[in-house]
């Protein structure tokens, strides 16, 4: 009997090289890949928006957003992803699709997207300047504040972007990208950020 190992590899496993990149000096952009998360898409059934939101609130303790917002609670983030839809992002299986199945039974359809995305956290003085090359949406702090979210596109590829809590007084942008596009988009991000100087890392912890 063969001895299998079911090791997990992030879609950025090869492309991500931790350390500095691009222009020398103080890094203007910080890129951190967050690995191994649970991501469940919750889609309310016809006429069941209310029940779905109530079910989410009962389970997670927070109302699921009905507009483009991201809501962070202790052990998960709920991110709007479209009309009648949201993602539940978490770690460690507590809110995995199996765990949530009974919660939304009858009110919503669930789809496991844990492996369908890579998650990149972007911060730094020049994060907005860099993102302006990739994103057509307005990320001015008055417009895209903490908790704002968007289902949008970068480099002609669908992404989910939201602003998490500030860290060290700086805005933090979280980006979910399709796994099979991740490496390509990563290189585009690096090209966009290179002039500002970049520091690269990866983490197992949700921001």
């Amino acid at each position: 009997m063969a001895d299998f190992s079911w090791d997990i590899r992030s879609p950025l496993d090869r492309a991500l090289v931790a350390g500095p990149y691009g222009a020398q000096g103080e890094a203007g952009v910080s890129l951190t890949e967050i690995r191994n998360f649970d991501l469940v898409q919750v889609m309310a059934r016809r006429g069941k928006a209310g029940e779905t939101i109530a079910a989410a609130k009962a389970r997670l303790g927070a109302a699921a957003p009905e507009t483009p917002k991201a809501v962070s609670i202790a052990d998960a983030t709920v991110i709007w992803s479209g009309p009648d839809q949201f993602f539940v992002l978490s770690k460690g299986g507590k809110h995995s699709i199996d765990a949530l199945a009974s919660v939304f039974a009858g009110s919503a359809s669930l789809s496991d997207q844990s492996h369908a995305r890579a998650l990149i956290s972007i911060s730094g003085d020049k994060a907005r300047a860099m993102l302006a090359k990739l994103s057509s949406i307005d990320l001015h702090p008055d417009v895209f504040g903490v908790g704002a979210a968007a289902a949008t596109s970068m480099d002609h590829t669908s992404v989910t972007l939201w602003r998490g809590d500030d860290r060290n007084g700086q805005a933090v942008f979280n980006l979910l990208v399709f796994a099979t596009f991740a490496e390509s988009l990563w290189h585009t991000i690096l090209d966009s950020a290179a002039e500002h100087g970049v520091t690269i890392g990866h983490s197992e912890d949700l921001a």
Binding site: P11, G22, R45, S109, D112, H115, A132, A179, T180
Partner: protein
């Protein structure tokens, strides 16, 4: 008083940094200039007057303007791979080591062989080519056209790949302002103070616009001090962004503006990690166009002589750059403003030879200036320019009343008045309106959200510019919802305005309207004579206004001359349509990052890196990179590798990453009913745990896509699409769900990226799977029959989805695991399959096996075939409605002689069959009337040991056994082929069910 090596540089003044000398080369000679110079100003400072040759006649040309409207002073800037043809010396910022060369001359600027064209000028009139070069017909491509092409064109492109990088970015604001002259700065101050988010774009590298050359007093301060104060105030505002070296070139729908930032064009090469230029898409609620006005020439004989310069440009060179285009200047003006050049010249210590004023009266102040300066004021017009070696030498003047005069001068400043820069306001096909009082076109409305202010709106006085700009900025901010205190408006006096329109002075000799394209006043008259009276006809017949300056200095004069010869007014004559971009923009900037391997994004399969380690050859399939085959040492070509892979599968077991298939979760109580409507066959009747092949049509009855769909639960189907159509099918299904059938309770999600999916095929598939799958899972024919589909547990506990479906015709399964396990799955399949000789196979082997099995794919699903054509007509349910049902029944889609899928093999087994060969009946001469179809897909079949293929052939299925010609004139081939059953391999399907 002049500086040694820059003989025409004034000792004082100007916005140049005399502590920062810069050396540069022009036509191989070394010169010095200063930081703050343009190439043109540095050439002026060095006494260079001849800088280029014209397009058609190769006439010597100098510098006419000091801005982006320049028609003449075009150079090849830089060298090697960075050579940029047609670069305007008047906007090229000087840098250390700059290299430039004049263009459109051979062998040299001073001695240009092609200037012989001038001898033929009597024949080379507008439109001359349309009247000749017709005979003999073959000579056009062979002789005439190559000669014309070589002579035409201006500079030379580098001819090698552009080594620099470009990128693109988005910006958002309340108010974007084009231009930072008095109107633009005033607009920015008002909008910025009100709290608006402002972007101020200035194409120059210094803010200030005409103030830099013409000065003035604003709020009691000298212009330079006022600019410094305004810029300091704006810079301190966090939501005001000043973008120098940035031209707003176009306005697009929804308040989107295109702008080009020349990030590093003022350096020899861009610094590492930086781009040369950046394309901005600026999304703004409002736009204030404060792009100023362009001084217009007067058309007279010899007006293209080097040394003839726009009056305002002359002021720019003297005041802003402390460079003197001439020592003894004559001024030809029809308006008050032109006189400023005389004032400037005197202030700079230059001689004024004469002022030739076309107006009947000259103000007392100017009369006294003339007597103080000791120069005559001649009432009349310039009728000819006598050219010496160094350009302008003597000027003939036709005096009002008929007498003539001559003026000796080495420079002639010309002012015909000003044309507001109406480009941006007219790019949505707006037509500007004529204002008689200033004899100029001004904007008549503008695209939504845009307004013109200052000189761009026909307000030429400094005070008016500030007022209009300030008010426009305030209003724009207010419209954008900003209400802060805008403070006080900057104030200045308005200059006197007086102008007598004058477009063309009759005289002998060529009088140029469009200097770059060598269009003369007589060309305009000829066009009129030949019936090309519409301004668009005029433009197209003479090429007036189509040069790199886009007619900025020529269009209005051209149509004024046309108006005169047709006896119409200028507004009746009208303008041509204005087209973006406002200034020419490098193609590389529009492409940005998307070039070379970054042209489009790349999608990688979950096992990509593993396959790369195996040495796989990859093929582009849409955006995907897929393993095409896995060559082994010693294999001589792809065919040998692919044949080995096929044989390994057919005799043992192999696997292939098929994750590129589109995968869609279809959820909800009405999922079955929904699929019944999108597929031609039924899915509501499919049992849980089963898969079924489905075919979907477009509404026009033509096949759209196919794939297997499995029912994983009562309310959950897992649908697969072809790789090519994955995104489109998702869009189509969402359309069906949201638009056509909103009453159904269905939810859709793409899970294409969630699952790594592998096809495992071959008689030993089950043996291999048993090593991977938990022993408790029953994989027997009874426990997991053909077309079964369910979740299974793998050894180690990982959950997977297993589908017993076969594309290869072998005993086969497809297995899905969450994508981050994809690479581990590939390794484990290799490990588990080692005892069975497991072989990874690529898309080529996949394709071979599908052709052997007669499965249709992309080449057969070509957007014109019906289900019947593909041999799948029987799948069409008659018990339900579905997309495409009705249109599929149309007469021409159901006639018996349609081209349908059939198997094809050469009668000579050694023959290679090729896709794209056509089918001609035996004994017929190939022609459209007997072209009966073509070969769609081919492969070398290792099983049959010969080339085989599928084709779309008239009545193909009825003609099994018939021998016809495969006619392939493109490749010089013609051979006999036989029609056969399209299922070449295991037609009973016993192997896949076994």
């Amino acid at each position: 008083m002049m500086r040694g090596d820059q003989a025409n540089r004034l000792n004082n003044g100007g916005l140049i940094d005399r502590t920062a000398p810069l050396s540069f080369r022009f036509d191989g000679k070394n010169f010095l200039g200063f930081k703050g110079d343009t190439l043109a100003s540095a050439l002026v400072a060095n006494g260079i007057k001849l800088v280029g040759r014209s397009f058609k006649y190769h006439r010597p040309r100098g510098i006419l303007t000091a801005g982006s409207e320049e028609p003449n002073a075009l150079v090849e800037l830089r060298s090697g791979a960075r050579r940029e043809p047609n670069t305007k010396a008047t906007t090229a910022e000087l840098y250390e080591g700059l290299e430039a060369a004049s263009q459109n001359r051979w062998p040299s600027l001073n001695f240009d062989v092609m200037s012989v064209n001038q001898l033929f000028a009597p024949i080379f009139v507008a439109g001359f080519y349309y009247k000749t070069f017709m005979w003999p017909a073959k000579f056009w491509e062979a002789i005439y056209e190559p000669a014309i092409r070589r002579a035409a064109g201006l500079g030379r492109a580098a001819g090698v790949s552009d080594p620099d990088h470009y990128d693109k970015a988005w910006a958002h604001c309340d108010v974007v302002i084009a231009g930072s002259g008095p109107a633009g700065l005033a607009a920015a101050l008002a909008a910025g103070r009100s709290g608006a988010r402002v972007i101020l774009c200035e194409e120059d590298f210094v803010l200030g616009g005409r103030l830099l050359a013409d000065g003035g007093t604003i709020d009691g301060l000298p212009a330079a001090e006022w600019i410094a104060g305004a810029v300091a105030e704006l810079t301190a505002m966090p939501d005001v962004r000043i973008m120098r070296r940035t031209t707003l070139f176009g306005v697009y729908d929804g308040g989107t503006y295109g702008a080009i930032e020349r990030v590093n064009d003022h350096l020899p090469v861009p610094p590492e990690h930086q781009v040369r230029q950046r394309l901005w898409r600026i999304v703004a609620k409002r736009c204030v166009v404060a792009a100023g006005a362009i001084e217009r020439p007067i058309v007279f004989a010899g007006n293209d002589t080097p040394g003839v310069m726009m009056a305002s440009a002359m002021r720019s060179y003297i005041n802003r750059y402390a460079a003197t285009p001439a020592r003894r200047i004559a001024l030809f003006t029809n308006n008050e403003d032109g006189w400023r050049t005389a004032e400037t010249a005197i202030a700079a210590g230059l001689q004024v030879a004469a002022v030739i004023d076309a107006r009947p009266d000259v103000s007392p102040a100017h009369r006294s200036l003339a007597s103080k300066g000791g120069f005559p004021v001649l009432h009349g017009s310039v009728s000819a320019v006598d050219r010496g070696k160094a350009g302008v030498r003597k000027i003939s003047v036709a005096l009002t009343g008929g007498a003539r005069a001559e003026v000796e001068a080495d420079g002639l400043a010309v002012s015909g008045g000003w044309n507001p820069a109406v480009g941006l306001t007219s790019y949505h096909r707006g037509r500007p309106k004529w204002r008689d009082d200033i004899a100029a076109f001004v904007p008549d409305g503008a695209p939504p959200g845009m307004v013109a202010a200052g000189a761009a709106n026909g307000a030429f006085g400094l005070g008016a510019c500030l007022r209009e700009g300030f008010e426009a900025g305030a209003a724009a901010a207010r419209d954008a919802g900003r209400g802060g205190n805008i403070g006080s408006m900057p104030v200045a006096d308005d200059e006197a305005f007086s102008l007598t329109p004058l477009w063309h002075v009759a005289g002998n000799g060529k009088a140029f309207v469009d200097q770059q394209h060598d269009v003369t006043a007589s060309d305009v008259e000829l066009a009129q004579r030949e019936g090309f009276q519409s301004v668009e006809h005029l433009k197209r017949y003479t090429t007036l206004g189509m040069a790199t300056d886009q007619g900025k200095t020529s269009n209005v004069a051209g149509l004024a001359i046309m108006a005169a010869v047709t006896g119409k007014s200028i507004p009746e004559t009208g303008t041509t349509i204005y087209r973006p971009p406002y200034v020419p923009v490098a193609i590389g900037a529009f492409a940005g990052h998307h070039r070379d391997e970054n042209f489009h994004a790349t999608r990688l399969t979950p096992s990509h890196h593993w396959a790369a380690e195996q040495g796989a050859v990859f093929v582009d399939t849409g955006l995907w990179k897929r393993a095409q085959w896995y060559p082994r040492a010693g294999e001589k070509d792809w065919l040998e590798s692919v044949t080995r892979e096929v044989k390994a599968v057919r005799s043992g077991v192999g696997f292939c990453d098929v994750s590129t298939l589109g995968k869609i979760d279809v959820h909800g109580p009405d999922a079955g009913a929904f699929l019944d409507r999108v597929y031609i066959n039924a899915f509501s009747s499919l049992a849980v745990g089963k898969a079924r092949y489905g075919l979907m049509l477009r509404e026009d009855g033509i096949v759209y896509d196919d794939g297997t769909t499995s029912r994983l639960a009562e309310d959950h189907y897992f649908l697969t699409t072809t790789t090519a159509k994955a995104g489109l099918v998702m869009q189509h299904l969402e359309f069906c769900r949201q638009v056509l059938f909103p009453e159904l309770d269905v939810q859709l999600t793409s899970v294409s990226d969630q699952w790594a999916q592998f096809s495992i095929a071959g008689p030993k598939t089950r043996d291999l799977l048993k090593e991977i799958v938990d022993p408790a899972e029953d994989l027997s024919n009874e426990g997991f029959p053909f077309m079964g589909a369910r979740e299974v547990k793998l050894r180690g506990g990982l959950k997977a989805r297993l589908f017993r479906i076969s594309f290869s015709g072998e005993m086969a399964f497809e297995i899905s695991v969450p994508a981050r396990y994809g690479e581990a799955m590939a390794r484990n399949l290799m490990l588990a399959g080692k005892p069975f000789g497991v072989t990874p196979y690529g898309t080529e082997a996949l394709g071979v096996m599908r052709i052997e099995k007669g499965h249709v794919a992309g080449p057969e699903l070509n957007g014109t075939t019906t289900a019947g054509d593909l041999g799948l007509g029987k799948m069409m349910s008659t018990k339900k409605d579905f997309i495409g049902r009705v249109m599929a029944g149309r007469e021409a889609l159901t006639v018996p002689n349609r081209q349908v899928v059939v198997g094809i093999k050469p009668t000579d087994k050694a023959r290679r069959l090729r896709s794209g060969a056509h089918i001609i009946p035996k004994g017929e001469t190939p022609g459209p009337e007997n072209d009966q179809g073509y070969v769609t897909s081919v492969c070398f079949s290792p099983v049959l040991d010969q080339w085989i293929g599928l084709g779309l052939v008239e009545r193909g299925r009825e003609r099994i056994g018939e021998i016809v010609r495969a006619h392939d004139p493109l490749r010089g081939e013609d051979y006999d082929v036989e029609f056969c059953n399209s299922v070449f391999y295991d037609p009973d399907g016993g192997r896949q069910r076994g």
